[in-house]
Amino acid sequence: MLGHGSGGRLTAELVSKVFLPALSNPLLDRLNDSAEVKVGPSRVVFTTDSFVVNPLRFPGGDIGSLAVNGTVNDLAVVGGQPIGLSAAFILEEGFPIAELKAIVQSMRTAAERAGVAVIAADTKVVEHGKADGLFITTSGIGVVAGSIELGPERIQVGDAVLVSGPIGDHGIAVMSAREGLEFQTTIVSDSAPLNGLVSQMLEGGGTIRCMRDPTRGGVATVINELAKSSGVEIVIEEMAVPVRHGVRAACEILGLDPLYVACEGRLVAIVHGADADRALAAMRDHPLGSDSCRIGTVTRSGAHRVLLRTAFGTTRLLDVLAGAQLPRIC
């Protein structure tokens, strides 16, 4: 079912019941954004991701730039600098060459921006009706500097939860383009390569425990993943979560919660509590992190859950959704 691809509980179920039993190994089982392998003295990270976005173009990007940024970001959040990408294209018969050219050019521009190149590629064409225009799968390899240690197991009580900018821009930009929803201002996807921002954080941001890019399932889902894999309770302050006016308006109209809407150029970082200001300063010093802010705290161990404190001081569970968010009826 489509919900199995939503990033929510159904996706987790598919991974744990189908993929892990067959493919299990210590590297995959960590379910990190990228897997790290030792090659001689080097720490090499490797990741892969498929892109099936509809529509192929949306304000702020297209499937090409998204496929580059998405893979660069999966490498970046584990501390990797990208050294090369591969791209595999599945084309539906009849897909216009001019459109493909534009998308490939956009990949090139995105790759240049991230300081990486597409160094391997593959093309397949399927019959008309067997694919939705164009699907792209990108994989990436990167290297991690020797001193960098990141991972959810490093999270400790008292740590601060930071986000690098307003959330939900990408998800709402794509949904608006797909459904033809028009708002007073055009909502532009945040799709961007985060490796530059991450480098800056790792250099001057103090003790960074771990990072994630909140793509499918949004900020709420990745923070839940972190809480679960590190066995801590995290409290998010609802009022501190940055959401742009237009995204909030769209979410209000559609009955969606921005905490579950995808970002493609944001990261969530968990940092040592005492270093929160230092990390924020390093993040704000980068153009892609200028609106960074603190949204929560790791409050205790042994709880595996995320709580949301509302404007009124009440607290509720912030859970993972079963599948995709559904627009409500009225």
Binding site: G3, R9, F312, T314, G323
Partner: protein
């Protein structure tokens, strides 16, 4: 955001809570009718703020929750027809029928689509003239006018391949049923503000007179709901029972005349079985004789087969305010949003899903203890 921030302002909420505390001397049970209101209460933890004398119970105003299982079965059955496109609102696709839901039907090849408005389904019918497009119309009086408009337009533009399954229902018969039942414990209502933007408030006056309960037409933001509770508590404490309009920024006494006129033209009132509330007289809408040609049930010669709710699911009692979701033995164990037994566990507006997804810590701990 304008018209929202001021109604979510903690500085306004606190004095309202204080006001309720100062007024209240007796325990009172108040039902918020609409699932959207339930969602706000749970999402913002408003019931934690209220004095313990106020018990909020959650009403039947979740459109997908009260849609009878046999109508969902009909929609699923219809979706399997070759070449047919079945459209509905997103929430509806995950509600289980007797055996499976519309998402399951889609996964095995049915063309089932989410639309934001029935007019989108009508557009689809115009773009795909060779295919039958059926809109599965659910919701209360809030969404019924948009269905009425789609059918009216289809007739005006002579679009032959568009039809609807009308499952629209009305709020007043549900309130009457709750108040008439022997085990009723609801002493005051927060009526669904958006329903009243369409219908106005006059149809609630006979209920107030007959049953001597206050009905406050209430909005959906935290300040709205607390104001509604404050107005209701004030009436209860003073022994008054009147219709009052808290949501005056959206609701006029007469409602939306254009929408009402269109509904009166397109729909006829019929008896219908509700999930959890049995058959309620004149509680639902069906297409009027004039528009009968757009009735999908008639067009495709469908017959409703009787269907049974899962025995474990106690949604009926939840929808009548007799049971809190967490008091249901299936809550969080055999019934979760991933594998819902009943509709209230599906929609964000369903009381069970609201408790599960945005559940307060008490609710969570209760489940963990099971």
């Amino acid at each position: 955001m304008k018209f929202l921030d001021e109604f979510r302002d903690a500085a306004v909420v606190r004095p309202l809570v204080e006001q309720i505390r100062e007024t209240i001397t007796h325990p009172w049970t108040i039902m918020e009718v609409c699932g959207g209101q339930t969602h706000t209460i749970v999402r913002y933890g408003l019931d934690e703020l209220l004095p313990r004398e106020v018990t909020l119970v959650h009403g039947p105003g979740c459109p997908v929750c009260v849609t009878p299982i046999e109508m969902i079965d009909l929609a699923i059955e219809l979706s399997k027809r070759a070449g047919l496109i079945l459209c509905s609102f997103g929430d509806m696709l995950r509600v289980p029928g007797s055996t499976y839901d519309l998402f399951d039907a889609r996964a095995v090849g049915a063309d089932v689509r989410v639309v934001y408005s029935p007019l989108d389904a009508l557009d689809l019918a115009r773009r795909e003239p060779s295919r039958e497009v059926v809109f599965f119309a659910v919701g209360f009086e809030t969404t019924a006018p948009t269905t009425a408009m789609a059918v009216h337009q289809a007739a005006r533009l002579k679009i032959p391949n568009f039809s609807v399954i009308v499952a629209h229902v009305r709020v007043p018969p549900a309130i009457e049923a709750i108040l008439s039942s022997d085990d009723n414990r609801v002493q005051g209502f927060l009526a669904a503000g958006h329903v009243c933007t369409v219908m106005g408030i006059d149809e609630y006056r006979p209920l107030v007179e007959k049953f001597k309960v206050p009905i406050i037409v209430t909005g959906f933001e935290p300040v709205d709901l607390l104001q509604g509770v404050a107005m209701c508590v004030a009436q209860l404490e003073q022994g008054r029972a009147e219709v009052e309009n808290q949501y005056a920024r959206a609701v006029r006494n007469e409602g939306n005349i254009i929408a009402r006129d269109l509904m009166a033209e397109v729909f006829a009132l019929v008896d219908r079985r509700w999930r959890g509330l049995d058959t309620l007289p004149k509680s639902a809408m069906a297409l009027s004789d004039r528009y009968a040609a757009y009735d999908a049930i008639r067009r495709f010669g469908l017959t409703q087969a009787p269907a049974n709710e899962p025995i474990e699911c106690r949604a009926g009692e939840v929808l009548r305010g007799l049971l809190k979701p967490t008091q249901c033995p299936a809550f969080g164990s055999s019934c979760t949003p991933d594998h819902p037994l009943g509709a209230p566990m599906v929609s964000a507006e369903g009381a069970c899903a609201a408790y599960f997804c945005a559940g307060r810590l008490a609710a969570v701990s209760a489940t963990e203890a099971k």
